[in-house]
Every structure is written in C-alpha cells, then in structure tokens.
C-alpha cells in the first residue's frame, strides 16, 4: 500500500509545502509554471517516449486548450454557462482532445520522419490561421479574461497566485496519475509495441494507425489541460502559446529529462523551466545554454537525465556508487572550466552584438572588462582548450572505473 502510493502521497505533500516555504511572487510564479510544464511534458512524452512519435507541433493542443479555456472563462463571466473555475482545465482538455482528432488522424498514418514533418506543417497551418481569425485568437495581443468567476466548487476565490497554484497542483497530481496509469493499459502497452516494431504489431492483430491515433488524441487531451491551466494562471492567452517555438520548448524539456522513463519529463520540465526563468534575468544568451544542454544530451546521453540516473541504480543498490564520486567531481571541475570559457565567449559576443552600448564595459562575476579588448578572448578560448584536454583522460578513467565496479558488482551477485 505505502509502496504503491508512497510516491504519490509524497509528491502531494511536497506540492502542499513548497509554496509555504518559497512564498515570494516570483517563486509562486515559477512553481506554477513548473507544474504546468510537467503536465505538458508528460503529455508530450505520451507521443515521443511511449509512442515513438516525434512531434514538432504539440503546442497546438496546448494552445487550443488555452484559447478555449480563456473563451470559456469569458463566456462564464458573461453569464453564458455556469462552469466553476476548478473545471475550466477540463474544458481545455476537451478542446485539445477534439482538435487532436482530425489533426491526429491525418498525421499518425506514418511515424518517424514523415510524422515529424507533418506535425511541423500542421503547426504552421495553425499559426498562419492566427492572423486570419482575429476574433478567436485575438490577433497580436491575444485574448484575456478574469479568472475570478462567480462559480466555484471549493469556495476559493482564486484572487491570489497561491490559490491558483494549489488548483494547478491538484490538476498536476490528477493528470500525472492518469497518464501514469495510461502507460499500464492495453493501449499504452501497444503504443510501446508499435514504437518498438511497427512492422510486427499488425501481425498480433493491431491497426498501428489507430494505436497511434488514440495515443495522440489522449495526449492532446492532457496538453489541453496544461493549456487551460496556463490560461487560468496568466489570465491571458496569445499566439506565442500555440506556435513552433512553444512546441520546441516542450520537445527540449522532455528530451533533456529523458523520454525512456515516466519521471524523465518531470525532471526535464522542472530543470528547463527553472533555467528558462532564471537565465532570462541573468543573461541575454539563455537559449544558447539550453541548446547546448540539448545537444550534449543527444550526443552523449540519449536517455536524458532520467537515463543517467537509472544506469547508476544497480551500482547504487550494490553500495558501490561511492567509488565513482571522486572521479565525477574531477570531471565536473574540468567540465566547469570548459563551461566558463564558453560562457565568457558567449557573453562577450552577446554584449558586442546585442547591447545598446557595446563599448561600455561588461560585468561578469564581479569583474569588469571591455568586451572588445583581446584579453577576455584569450582567457575564454584558453579555458575551453585546457578544460577539453583535461576532460579526455578523466572520461577515460571514469569508463575504466565503471567497468571495474560493474565487474565487482557482478562478482558480488554470484558470490
């Protein structure tokens, strides 16, 4: 019992406590965004991780969920239909689901590259519609609404950020539990099977197009819920939410977190949202760091953060993980050297190309210098080279140590 529900109870407790500890406006905003991003990323992983469908247009359903929700809020406020705010995300979910049906039906006939291309075409189609249908999308400025509805199931007014956070957290728990359970259903399992071998699946009786299509539609539903929550959180929805960029973000966060495990997208969404929101305040080059992280993960850790964690699990359980720690610390140090070098390079370049006064000195770590003088360039390139040459033998050592520990672990198993 505790084993089975323990994780969920713990998650719920954390969600209750967190905003009590981090109670600044910025923290609450960030927590809310993280929770929404988790739902969105989990729904994306229903496609990519579970079904092997790489979509460049998942934000369409997120966006439609958002737009329909904000319109629903306005309708309720105009006295149209009495829907309590707590259930507005469900309206968003249904919107995502309904839009996913036609779009999913035509795009899931193929998987792989063709599916990816079609998803890109469809998102562009929707984006092109934004300007043509101003009364639905609200043109450039978007659609806004007032979330403090007359109707409420709980009696909460949702005037403050923290009240909204708890609503989001509630939906996070519900949707992630549902999405987790979905992986355990016949459809969820067949989605895995079709992902692994679309050639064989028809010969056990399944129409792979329909498996993908149903998986896609459900994923649209959960994306729509995430979109509805975003609409409630910001009380405004604009076309940014629906386009290729938003779709790219969810792809990045999901992949960085790891598509092979259920908790991967959760990690990814938390890290990505955190970096995204904090980097924006610190540097103009935030996107670059996220992009580098993504490429590093693709090249060297295709199962993302969750994959990295899971390969260490056997060693952890065998109590051997400590042998690796010193090596990792050294590698981290060398990695940081490269990173600092690259960072200085990026920052001085951004300063030169984007700031209003490139001739003004730039401040990094409390040091002030001129970006268009040569010492910072030499320092940064030097750091990159030094770190790089240090890293190579260190990585080799880690591999050796890894093999040694694995052997030790296997010996232990049979002894």
């Amino acid at each position: 019992m505790l084993k089975r529900y323990g994780v969920w109870i713990a998650a719920a407790l954390i969600l209750v406590i967190l905003p009590q500890i981090f109670d600044s406006g910025f923290a609450i905003t960030m927590l809310s965004e993280m929770c929404i991003a988790i739902i969105f990323a989990l729904s994306y992983n229903m496609l990519l991780g579970q079904g092997g469908m790489l979509s460049f247009g998942h934000a369409v359903f997120y966006g439609f969920g958002g737009f329909i929700s904000i319109h629903a809020i306005n309708v309720v406020n105009d006295g149209g239909v009495p829907i309590p705010l707590e259930l507005i995300p469900l309206v968003g979910g249904l919107a995502g689901f309904i839009f996913a049906i036609p779009l999913g039906y035509i795009s899931t006939k193929k998987a792989g590259t063709t599916f990816a291309l079609i998803s890109l075409g469809l998102v562009e189609l929707v984006v092109a519609c934004v300007l043509l249908f101003p009364s639905f999308f609200g043109g450039e400025e978007g659609v806004s609404g007032d979330r403090m509805l007359e109707f409420s199931l709980t009696g909460v007014g949702f005037g403050s950020g923290i009240e909204v956070f708890y609503l989001i957290a509630f939906w996070l728990i519900v949707t992630s539990a549902l999405m987790y359970l979905q992986t355990q259903t016949p459809l969820g399992r067949m989605a895995n099977a079709v992902r692994d071998n679309p050639e064989r699946a028809p010969f056990v009786g399944y129409n792979i197009h329909l498996v993908r299509f149903f998986q896609f539609s459900l994923s649209g539903f959960f994306a729509g819920i995430a979109g509805g929550l975003l609409a409630i959180n910001y009380e405004i929805v604009n076309s940014e939410m629906i386009g290729a960029a938003a779709s790219g973000h969810v792809l990045l966060m999901t992949y960085i977190g790891g598509v092979g495990h259920f908790f991967g997208p959760i990690l990814g969404a938390i890290l990505y949202t955190f970096l995204h929101l904090t980097l924006v305040n610190i540097t103009m080059a935030g996107q670059i760091y996220l992009g580098v992280l993504f490429i590093v993960i693709i090249l060297w850790a295709p199962n993302g953060m969750a994959g990295i964690i899971m390969v260490h699990r056997p060693l952890w359980q065998a109590g051997l993980i400590r042998g690796l720690l010193p090596h990792y610390l050294v590698a981290l140090a060398a990695g940081l050297v490269v990173f600092f070098g690259a960072m200085i390079l990026v920052e001085i370049n951004y300063h030169l190309s984007l700031s209003i006064e490139p001739d003004n000195p730039i401040r990094l770590f409390g040091v002030e210098f001129k970006a268009n003088s040569w010492p910072p360039w030499i320092v940064s390139i030097g750091l990159i080279l030094v770190g790089f040459f240090l890293l190579r033998p260190i990585m080799k050592n880690i591999r050796l140590k890894w093999d040694e520990l694995t052997r030790e672990m296997q010996k232990g198993k049979f002894a």
Binding site: T185, R189, M190, N197, E199, F203, G205, Y206, N207
Partner: protein
C-alpha cells in the same frame, strides 16, 4: 476424416517491378494438417508467407482462409481472422520484456482492443495465460529481460511464442529453427508439435530432418512455382524433386 480446406491459394502471382517472383501457385492446406514448404534459397517461400499474411499485395490470384477471400485485407484484419505468422528474421518488440512481448501478442485475441481504461496488471486471466506461454517456452527465468538482450536461440523461440500466443487456428512459421543448434532444434520441434496440436501449421524449413519429422505433407517450391505437393515418402522418391534438390533428400 474430413477434408476441409483451411488455407487455399489459387493461381497466386507476385512480381516486384519487372521480376516475377511467384509465378502461379495453387496450394490447398487442410484443416489440422502440418504442411511444410521447402525449396532452394530465393525460391520465394518467404514471399508466399508475405502474400498470405497480407504483408505484400498480390499481383494476381486469390487466397482464401476458411473459404473467405483474404487477399486485399490488411495484415491486422487477416490476423483477426485467425491466421498468425512468424518471421524469418527475428521481429520482436525489442525494448519490451519477454513477458510484455507475449502479453502484447495476447491482447487483441483476449478482446482488449484499444482499451485505455483497464490496467493490464490487474487482468488475472491475461497474466496467467501469458505466464503459461512464457513457461511453455522455457523462458520463465528470462521473463523480465528486454528481448534485445536475449540469446539468438531464445529470440527464435520467442518468435514462435508470439506467433502462437494469440491462439490462431492457422499458423505460418518461417524457418523457425534456422541457426539453432541440434539440441535446440529438437526442443523447438517438440514445442511446435505441442502448440500446433489441433491447428493448421504451415512451416518453411531448410532442415530436412525437421521437415520429415513434422510434416504430414510437403510442397516443393522452386523458382516461384510449386513443382510437387505430397506426403513425405512420395516427395522423397519424386524424380523432379530430387533433381531440384540434387540428392539433399538422400541424407535424411
């Protein structure tokens, strides 16, 4: 003894572009029969399976399963009518475990369709049946292993397991014992006999020992045509078969 026909091929043709690969095949497999198809490499044996199971469209001709025309149907539709096939090159759900592979092969026939409201873990009958098949194929100790990590012989065995799991009445096996050692082959033959009990089995095989041990009747396919269909003894003494096979049959 009744002579109901389970699988009936009538003047089946298949060309890939210019090249005619199957050049007019007639074949009637009786219900409950164990039928072997033999022939040299490239004769078109796998292609025949691909045509029957709906993997390739026919160029000409007709295929019937229990008197129902099945050519033109999708593979999944043919499978639902009770025909299941294995592949010459192992074709499994690579990242799923042995248990999951078998369970996926059972889902449709157990009637779960595209259900997203039932949890597979809670379906007692389904899991028992799965376990039974895993045990039958001597894989209980590998139950949780991803099939990508299995040995070759284990993968071949599972290939058969997945094919028969759904309980299809007509089973097509494409070189089930290819690449197996002598003892593994023996085990596999016993298994095939056991799982095809009361069912119709069509098997493509190069190992003549297996063929003569297993088959009620044998068809010889050479260069896209069936040159003979008969009982094992008569096939052994058939002149044109011997010519095509250059004495390979003597050794048996």
């Amino acid at each position: 003894m009744t002579h109901e026909i389970a699988l009936n091929l009538v003047d089946v043709h298949k060309s890939f572009g210019e090249s005619q690969i199957i050049r007019g095949i007639d074949l009637a497999v009786e219900k409950g029969e164990r039928h072997a198809i033999i022939g040299p490499n490239g004769a078109g044996k796998s292609t025949v399976f691909n045509l029957i199971s709906g993997y390739y469209p026919l160029s000409d001709g007709k295929i019937e399963l229990n008197d129902q025309v099945i050519n033109g149907l999708e593979p999944f539709q043919i499978n639902r009518l009770g025909l299941s096939r294995s592949f010459q090159v192992t074709n499994l759900f690579s990242r799923l475990s042995v248990f999951e592979n078998v369970r996926c092969a059972l889902l449709w026939s157990a009637g779960y369709k595209y259900s997203f409201w039932q949890l597979v873990g809670q379906q007692k009958q389904l899991n028992e049946k799965t376990k039974e098949i895993v045990d039958q194929f001597n894989m209980s100790h590998r139950s949780q292993t991803p099939v990508g990590e299995l040995s070759y012989a284990e993968q071949r065995a599972l290939e058969i397991g997945i094919t028969v799991a759904g309980g299809a009445e007509v089973i097509l096996l494409d070189e089930p014992t290819a690449g197996m050692s002598h003892s593994e082959t023996e085990q596999a033959v016993d298994l095939m006999k056991f799982v095809s009990e009361g069912k119709t089995l069509v098997v493509v095989e190069h190992d003549m020992g297996v063929v003569f041990d297993l088959a009620d009747r044998i068809s010889v396919l050479v260069y896209g045509k069936i040159i003979a269909t008969d009982t094992p003894d008569k096939i052994r003494s058939n002149k044109s078969v011997q010519e095509a096979y250059l004495g390979q049959l003597e050794e048996v």
